[in-house]
Subunit: 151 residues, 2 copies
């Protein structure tokens, strides 16, 4: 369904290949709006009270960091197939902050072709989300479905 020029399919990429996204600026407004809807803990919604928290200041919900990573992922991935995640592992070494200008870098770590379906496989990719100071905000290991180029 995706109509990209130069799209890459399974069989046309290898372990070690990588791509980098554009950037996305995270605002205090977005951190608070997302948290009020989905993760209403005071250190995500109240800049004043957050100063006394574990995070010592307003911190983004890790799930907003994940959502922004996905936005950048959809925009930056070179694949011809859709992005359907099977299994994900996430770590947040530090919280995303207001003013962070995030980008992601994704690298293919493993490719396993399906034995029963020769046009299909599982790619393991690692996506690192960093801000403009190179601080790591999220590390994701993700298994996604891949397909060979349609004939």
């Amino acid at each position: 369904m995706k109509m990209k020029d130069n799209a890459i399919w399974l069989g046309e990429c290898e372990v070690g290949d990588s791509y980098v996204s554009d950037t996305y600026e995270v605002t205090e407004e977005e951190i608070i709006a997302f948290a009020k809807q989905y993760d209403p803990q005071y250190f995500h919604t109240d800049p004043e009270k957050a100063k006394d928290s574990f995070f010592k200041g307003l911190a983004s919900s890790g799930w907003l960091t994940a959502a922004i990573m996905m936005k950048l992922q959809v925009a930056s991935n070179p694949f011809g197939f859709d992005l359907v995640g099977v299994e994900v592992k996430l770590e947040w070494p530090s919280p995303t902050r207001a003013g962070d200008i995030l980008h992601i870098r994704t690298e293919i770590k493993d490719i396993k072709m399906s034995r029963s379906k020769p046009n299909q496989g599982i790619l393991t990719v690692e996506t690192i989300t960093k801000n403009q100071k190179d601080e790591v905000r999220m590390v994701m290991q993700n298994k996604i479905l891949g397909f060979t180029r349609p004939k």
Copy 2:
């Protein structure tokens, strides 16, 4: 910072303890709005085109399922300490659909007290997100920071 009656702290819960949330109804509007902002793939944003996709119909972004799980988690958890995730593993056995009425059940799978900080530890919890038909939409393994009751 949380002021709950009957809050539970580290040392007052054990492996096997569990809790269940209230329910949350997922609408087509929310699926599309979230996806347009964070996961703009056609099977998350366009009910018609989605019929021809891997999901055979409009499917929620897995990241919206995660965000709703977190909303239910914040509302249902019995802990006196804040919820700070360290490491998460997610699987989506089936996609969340419009009309799903979701709830979560969380069970403590492991408790490891810190050696250096006696008031601190890591809880491993498993949270299963299901709809009203008992279909599993997400399985999460999560390591969270836990604290003993303040003296």
